[in-house]
C-alpha cells in the first residue's frame, strides 16, 4: 500500500511551543501535511476527521491538565482510528510500558533521531490506512450479512464451519431440503459461491463471528 503524503495528516500535540514548531518544520520538510496542537484539549476541540490518506498523532506524554496517556485513552474510547506515537523528555519506563500496552505505535525519547521519527510516522500512517481499510471491509461484509434473515444467518454459520446440508438439518431440527433452500437464498443475497465464501464473509464482518 502506497502512502500519498499530500492527503495524509500528522497531528503534533505538545505544550512546548518551540519544540512543537521544530517537529512541524521537520515533518513539512519531508512533505507531510501536519497540524500542531498546544494541548490535549485543543486537539479534542478540533476533533479532526480521519483523513482519507491516513494519519497519526505525535503526542507528548507530560502535559498540564490532560496528559498524553489520558488523551490516548479518550481517543480509544471514542473509537478513533489515529495511531499514537508518544514522545517524552524523561526516560520514563512505566509510562512507556503503559503507553505500548494501550496500543501506542512507539515511545520516542527526546531528542530522537529524525530519521527514526519520520520512519515511525510513516509506519503509523500506513498502519492507520490498513486499519481504516480493514474497518471499511468489515462494514461492507456486515452490510451484506444484514440482508440475511436470522435463520439464514444461522444456516450460513453452520455451513461455514464445514457441515453438510444433512448435518445442518439435524443440528437445526429441519429437513435437508429446507437447508438446501436456505443455502440457495444465501448465495443469491450475498453473491457468495459456497461455504468457503460464507466463512470469509462472516469473519470479515466479525473476526470472532465463528467462535
Amino acid at each position: 500500500m502506497t502512502i500519498d503524503v499530500s492527503i495524509s495528516v500528522v497531528h503534533v500535540v505538545d505544550d512546548e511551543a518551540p519544540f512543537r514548531r521544530s517537529l512541524l518544520f521537520l515533518l513539512e520538510s519531508s512533505g507531510w501535511q501536519c497540524v500542531g496542537h498546544a494541548s490535549a484539549e485543543d486537539f479534542l476541540l478540533a476533533a479532526p476527521a480521519f483523513p482519507s490518506g491516513g494519519g497519526c498523532i505525535v503526542l507528548d506524554v507530560r502535559m498540564l491538565r490532560i496528559s498524553g496517556l489520558e488523551l490516548q485513552r479518550r481517543l480509544q474510547e471514542a473509537g478513533s482510528a489515529y495511531p499514537v506515537i508518544f514522545m517524552t523528555g524523561h526516560g520514563d519506563v512505566d509510562l512507556a510500558v503503559q503507553a505500548m500496552k494501550d496500543g501506542a505505535i512507539d515511545f520516542l525519547q527526546k531528542p530522537f533521531r529524525e530519521q527514526h521519527f519520520l520512519d515511525t510516522v510513516e509506519r503509523a500512517v500506513r498502519l492507520s490506512l490498513e486499519r481504516h481499510n480493514a474497518s471499511l471491509r468489515s462494514q461492507c461484509a456486515q452490510q451484506t450479512l444484514d440482508q440475511l434473515s436470522a435463520r439464514e444467518l444461522e444456516v450460513a454459520r453452520w455451513l461455514a464451519l464445514g457441515l453438510s446440508n444433512k448435518e445442518v438439518g439435524r443440528e437445526l431440527a429441519i429437513s435437508e431440503n429446507t437447508v438446501h433452500v436456505h443455502r440457495q437464498h444465501i448465495m443469491d443475497k450475498t453473491g457468495a459461491g459456497g461455504a468457503a465464501d460464507f466463512a470469509r464473509l462472516i469473519l470479515r464482518a466479525n473476526p470472532s463471528g465463528l467462535d
Binding site: S22, L23, F25, S29
Partner: protein, 600 residues
C-alpha cells in the same frame, strides 16, 4: 523557776554563813606580817619588844606576828592571811598594788623626819684607798643581799645609776649573796667582793657590839646628813611602812594606829610616825624600772619586740599568707587568663570551622536543590537541544530534496538561535547558584529579592509554576541579607510548594505574601498541596528529615540555619484557609535604604 529561786537563796545563805564563819575566826586577832630582811631568827629577836609593846596597847586583841620573805608576804596578802604588814619602803610601794595602805612610817629616832629614815652604805675595806667615789666602783665587784632588797641594794642601785653606771650590765659587777646582810660584810672582808651594800647603821651596830673590828671597813663616799649618826652613801628615803591590808576593818586600823603612835620610843626601839611621803621611793623604783615600774624596761626595742612579738608574728604570718595568697591568686589569674585565651582561640577556631562547614553545607544544599531539580533541568535543556537538532536536520533534508526556501531557512535559523539562547540562559541561572562563595551582606528590598528568586525559578523551569505576590510591605521594606542565601531559602520554599502541588495535581499559583510586622519583614509562601501531618510538621526543620523519595532532607534545616543567621525565624504551619502549608520567615528590617543588587 521555783527551783532556780531556791538554788539562788540557798547559795546566798551559804555565802552569808561562810562570811560569818571567817569573821568569827578572825575576830580578836591582829595578824601582822613582817619582812625578815635579816632572816627569821634575827627578825624574831629584833621585833619581839615591839610586838610585846603593841600587845600591851591592844588588850582586846591577840597580836600575831609572822615573818616573811618578799615573795611569802605577797602570797600571804593574796590569801588574806594578814591584817597588817611591816616592810621596807621599796617593798611597800610594790605591795601597794595589792591594795595595802600605810598607816604609819617607822622612825629611826623620835626626833627624826619619817621621810629621812632609810639609807644605804657602801662599805669597802679600809685598805682599798683607791676607792673613794662611786665612780671608782665602775669596774669593781660589789656584793649585795638581793636585787629585791630595798636598803640592801635598790637604794644604792639608784645612786649608781645617777652616777652614770648600770649595775645590771656589770658596772659594777654585782654579786648577790642572799640574807642575812652580814654575808655581804663577810664577802667584802674575805675579798670576794670589792665593795658591799648594807643598810645604814648596820656597820655601826656591828662595830658597837664587837662583831666587826674597828678600822677594817669604811663607808664609801659618806654623805653628810645621816640618820641617827650612821654613815650612808645614799640619799635617804622614808622609813619602813606599817600598812593595813585592804580587807582590814577601819576600826582595827585606827586602834592599831593609835597604839603605834603611842608606843613608847626608847633605846633601839624604833618609834612610829604618821605616814611619810613615799614618792621618793616611787621615783627610785621608776628610775630602776623595777616593781610597779618594771614595765618601763619594756620600752627598749628588745622588750618592744618581745611585747609585740605575738602580734608581730601574727602580722608577719598574715603578711606571708597574704603574699602567698596574692602570688596564688596571680598565678590563678594568669592560668585562668591563659585558659580563657586558649578557650577563646578554640572557640574562634570552632566558629570558623562551623562557618566553613556551614558554608559547605549551604553549598551542598544548593547542589542538592540542583540535584533534586536535575531531572527537570535535563528535561529543560533537552527541549531546546532537541528543537535545534530538529531544525538542523530539517534544513539538511530540504537541501537534499532541493526544496529549501529562503523563508524556511530564515525561520529555522531564528528558531535555532532562540533555542540556543534559552539553553544558555538555563545554564547561567544554575551556574551562579551552584558556585561556592563566602557570605556577603547588602541592604536589599525584600520584594526585589522575592521577584529575583521567582525569576531564577522561571529561568530554570520552562513550566515554572505561576506566582502571585501580595506586596503589603510598608515603608520599612529593606533587609540586610546575603542575597544568594535568602534566594536559596526562597527557592527551597518555592520548590517545596511546587512539589506539593504537583503531587496533588493542583495548578494553583503559589502565593507569596510580603508583610511588615513591627521591625520584621515577613515572607509567607503558601501552597495548595495536600499539607503535612502534625508529626511531619514537628520534624520539618530537622536535618535529614524528608517526605520526598529523592530528597536529602537538608533543605529546610539549612533554610532555618540561614534565616536564623540573619537574626530571623522560619516557621511552618497549615494554611489557615483550605488545604496546603504556609512557610513563613521573618527578617529584621534594615534602617538604611536598599542598595542596588551587585551585578554579576
Amino acid at each position: 523557776m521555783q527551783t532556780i529561786l531556791r538554788a539562788v537563796l540557798s547559795c546566798c545563805t551559804f555565802l552569808v554563813l561562810a562570811f560569818a564563819l571567817v569573821s568569827q575566826v578572825r575576830a580578836g586577832d591582829v595578824r601582822i606580817g613582817v619582812l625578815a630582811w635579816l632572816g627569821s631568827d634575827e627578825a624574831g629577836t629584833q621585833w619581839t619588844p615591839f610586838v610585846q609593846q603593841l600587845q600591851e596597847k591592844l588588850p582586846g586583841h591577840k597580836v600575831l606576828v609572822r615573818h616573811f620573805d618578799l615573795a611569802g608576804m605577797s602570797q600571804a596578802l593574796d590569801e588574806h592571811g594578814l591584817d597588817f604588814v611591816i616592810t621596807n619602803p621599796g617593798h611597800y610601794v610594790m605591795l601597794e598594788e595589792r591594795g595595802i595602805s600605810r598607816i604609819a612610817t617607822q622612825l629611826s629616832d623620835q626626833r627624826h623626819d619619817p621621810a629621812q629614815v632609810v639609807g644605804s652604805a657602801i662599805v669597802v675595806r679600809e685598805a682599798r684607798r683607791e676607792l673613794q667615789n662611786l665612780e671608782d666602783l665602775r669596774h669593781q665587784r660589789m656584793a649585795a643581799v638581793s636585787p629585791d632588797a630595798f636598803g640592801g641594794y635598790q637604794v644604792i642601785g639608784g645612786e649608781l645609776q645617777a652616777a652614770g653606771m648600770n649595775p645590771e650590765s656589770g658596772e659594777p659587777r654585782m654579786q648577790f649573796t642572799g640574807f642575812p646582810m652580814t654575808t655581804v660584810i663577810e664577802a667584802v672582808l674575805q675579798g670576794r667582793a670589792d665593795a658591799g651594800v648594807i643598810r645604814a647603821c648596820l656597820l655601826e651596830r656591828m662595830l658597837s657590839d664587837g662583831t666587826l673590828a674597828q678600822g677594817v671597813l669604811r663607808v664609801l663616799a659618806p654623805r653628810p646628813a645621816t640618820p641617827g649618826g650612821c654613815r650612808v652613801s645614799s640619799r635617804l628615803y622614808p622609813g619602813w611602812a606599817f600598812a593595813a591590808a585592804s580587807a582590814t576593818p577601819p576600826d582595827l586600823s585606827r586602834q592599831v594606829l593609835l597604839a603605834l603612835l603611842t608606843l613608847p620610843a626608847g633605846d633601839g626601839e624604833p618609834g612610829w610616825s604618821v605616814p611619810a611621803d613615799y614618792r621618793p621611793v616611787h621615783e627610785l623604783l621608776r628610775r630602776l624600772q623595777i616593781g610597779p615600774y618594771a614595765f618601763l624596761r619594756e620600752s627598749g626595742w628588745r622588750s618592744i619586740v618581745q611585747r609585740i612579738w605575738p602580734w608581730l608574728a601574727a602580722s608577719i604570718a598574715l603578711l606571708l599568707l597574704w603574699a602567698v595568697y596574692t602570688v596564688h591568686v596571680e598565678h590563678l589569674v594568669q592560668r585562668r587568663t591563659r585558659e580563657l585565651r586558649a578557650a577563646l582561640a578554640e572557640r574562634r577556631e570552632l566558629e570558623m570551622r562551623m562557618r566553613n562547614s556551614q558554608q559547605q553545607m549551604e553549598h551542598l544544599s544548593r547542589l542538592s536543590i540542583l540535584g533534586e531539580l536535575a531531572g527537570r533541568l535535563a528535561h529543560e535543556l533537552n527541549q531546546p537541544l532537541a528543537a535545534i537538532a530538529n531544525y538542523a536536520r530539517s534544513l539538511l533534508r530540504r537541501q537534499e530534496r532541493g526544496s529549501l526556501s529562503a523563508e524556511a531557512l530564515g525561520q529555522a535559523a531564528a528558531e535555532i538561535a532562540s533555542e540556543a539562547e534559552r539553553a544558555a540562559g538555563i545554564l547561567n541561572g544554575i551556574r551562579g547558584f551552584a558556585r561556592k562563595r563566602a557570605q556577603e551582606r547588602s541592604a536589599r528590598d525584600m520584594a526585589d529579592v522575592v521577584r529575583e528568586a521567582i525569576g531564577l525559578m522561571g529561568s530554570m523551569l520552562s513550566q515554572a509554576p505561576a506566582f502571585v505576590i501580595h506586596d503589603r510591605l510598608g515603608a520599612r521594606r529593606t533587609v540586610l541579607i546575603d542575597t544568594l542565601q535568602v534566594q536559596q531559602v526562597l527557592l527551597n520554599l518555592f520548590k517545596n510548594a511546587w512539589d506539593a502541588q504537583q503531587a496533588a495535581g493542583e495548578a494553583w499559583p503559589i502565593e507569596v505574601g510580603l508583610d511588615t510586622e513591627a521591625d520584621l519583614c515577613c515572607v509567607t509562601v503558601r501552597d495548595h498541596g495536600p499539607g503535612l501531618t502534625t508529626e511531619q510538621q514537628e520534624h520539618l526543620f530537622e536535618a535529614f528529615f524528608t517526605t520526598k523519595p529523592q530528597g536529602l532532607g537538608l533543605g529546610l534545616s539549612i533554610c532555618k540555619t540561614i534565616v536564623e543567621s540573619h537574626g530571623g525565624q522560619l516557621q511552618a504551619q497549615a494554611a489557615s484557609l483550605g488545604a496546603g502549608m504556609e512557610f513563613r520567615f521573618f527578617l529584621p528590617c534594615h534602617s538604611h535604604p536598599a542598595s542596588q543588587p551587585a551585578t554579576e
